[in-house]
Structures are given as structure tokens and as C-alpha cells.
Symmetry: C2
Subunit: 163 residues, 2 copies
């Protein structure tokens, strides 16, 4: 990997294009099929999903529109979980699902990940869509930006073979 590639690949850019959305963009130095697989393979997800120090296990992952997912996250301080229902699975371009943190059940967002082929590299655009601005702002103040960035760093290392 050249320094240029390192630079372009190593940052997650987070912004808020509307009152109810958070978008995170990241370029990974791997072909689109490999990146899409990392998002949809139940054996690979525990390798990168969540910040460092968190152990993620797959409780449910019924990867089809209408199928349920539930990931359990453990760290030294305790355990929590996230869950939802897959809405769209379009390999290798897009995956979308409802997303609910079990610590705030009833507050449901829609997460979509779009995978863009950059010729051997892949841009992943993650969009979080909320019902209300307060819910979006709650997510931003929870440390979501650094958490997602760290999770993306882990995924970059996994794809690079250094994870």
C-alpha cells in the first residue's frame, strides 16, 4: 500500500446532510465483493463490528428482506445488543436494515450501506435515517462517530490482512 492509498483509506468522514440523517463515508483498499462480504458474512462481522475492546457475537442473522438480525456486544463493563430487520440485500451494491439499540428500544433508525466500486478500492457510504432530529442528535452525542471510525479501522485492517 502506498502512502497515498493509506491516506485516502484511513479516515471515516461523518456529516449530517439533513435534519434526520447521519452519513459516514469510508474508502477501503479492497475490491467491492470483499468489502460487501465483510458486511454480510456472519463469520467476518465479529472480526470488525464495533469499537476496539468490544467483542461482538451474532445472535441472529437471517440475511433476507424481512429477516431478523441481533448482534450482542460485550466489553469489560458489560453487555448490550443491537437488533433489527433486513430491508434490502443487493449484492454487492447495497444493504439496508432497521436498527434498534436495546438500551433505547422503540427508537428505530434505518441504516443503509452503499458500496461503490472505485476500481480495486471501495467507497462505503453508510446512511442513518432517524424519525426525528432529537434521535439523530442523541446518536451523535453517544460517541457514534468515533465508534464507527474505530470499527472501520478494524475492517480496513481485516481487509488488509493485518487485522
Amino acid at each position: 500500500m502506498t502512502n497515498d492509498q493509506q491516506d485516502a483509506s484511513s479516515r471515516t468522514v461523518v456529516y449530517t446532510p439533513s435534519e434526520r440523517e447521519i452519513v459516514a463515508e469510508r474508502i477501503f483498499d479492497a475490491p467491492r465483493e470483499r468489502v460487501f462480504a465483510a458486511y454480510t458474512d456472519s463469520k467476518l462481522i465479529p472480526e470488525w463490528w464495533g469499537p476496539r475492546g468490544v467483542t461482538t457475537t451474532i445472535d441472529k442473522m437471517d440475511l433476507r428482506p424481512g429477516g431478523e438480525w441481533r448482534f450482542v456486544c460485550r466489553d469489560p463493563e458489560g453487555e448490550t445488543a443491537f437488533r433489527g430487520v433486513y430491508r434490502e440485500i443487493s449484492p454487492p451494491e447495497r444493504i439496508s436494515e432497521s436498527f434498534e439499540w436495546e438500551g433505547m428500544l422503540g427508537h428505530v433508525l434505518v441504516e443503509s450501506a452503499d458500496f461503490e466500486d472505485l476500481g480495486g478500492r471501495t467507497r462505503v457510504t453508510t446512511t442513518l435515517l432517524f424519525h426525528a432530529t432529537e434521535e439523530r442528535d442523541g446518536m451523535l452525542s453517544s460517541g457514534m462517530e468515533s465508534g464507527m471510525s474505530e470499527s472501520h479501522d478494524r475492517l480496513a485492517e481485516l481487509l488488509d490482512g493485518t487485522g
Copy 2:
């Protein structure tokens, strides 16, 4: 009941105040506490929830913020279910919960009912908030307006002692 009260009580008015909302207003000829009870008592809900000809049974009803609910609806053509999580229970003023039809899991709206004391009568304002306009329009085209109106008629009869 006078004819004036009958007129004012007998219609559910549905409108779309924004691109992502449906609002339904109905005035019931009963005190707020009784109307609120009909929305929150698991013994009363099966008496009115759903259009005529539908039998509703309560599968889950953990009436607290973060508690799950699931109602099963049967008619001669089959069975379906609705589910979600309570977000707010503020007797006798407001109840709010996430709402998901199991025929389209992953598409989640927020339903809120506000109960306004009109001095012996009660205005219930039901607001459905969607993530996207297409989801709102899908609900409108599903016959939701007549279904909710019929359900409100059943509730009016129950409160009136004729149901």
C-alpha cells in the same frame, strides 16, 4: 346524546400535515380517563382494535417505556400481526409506541395518541410518523383510513355501552 354530539363524535378526520405524517382526529363522547383506559387495558383493546370482522388478541403487552407489544389479528381470510415497543405512557394524556406490521417487517413507524379533555368528551389525535414519504403513502393506500375509522366506530360503541 344530542344530535350535535352524535355528529361531532361520529367521524374520524384523517389528514397529512407533512410529507412523513398521517394524523387522525376523533372525538369520543366519554371522559378522558375512560378513553385512555380503552387504549391501554389489555381486556378492552380486543373489543375495538381493528376493523369490524377482525378478531384481535393480545400476544404481548408490556405497558412501560421499552416494553414490547404484539397484537394478532384474525379474519376469515387469515391471520396477521402488528408489534412494537412502547416509548411513552403518560396517563391520561399520551401514549406512544413504535409500530411494525409483520407483513412488512423492517418498516417501522411511530404512533402517538394524544388525549384532550373536552369536558366529559375526549379528542384523540393519533399521529403516525414514518421514515419516508413512500412508507406513509403505502399506509394510506392500504386502506388505513377506513380501517381506523371503523375501529374508532367500534370504540365509540364500546364507550357508549352499545358495542
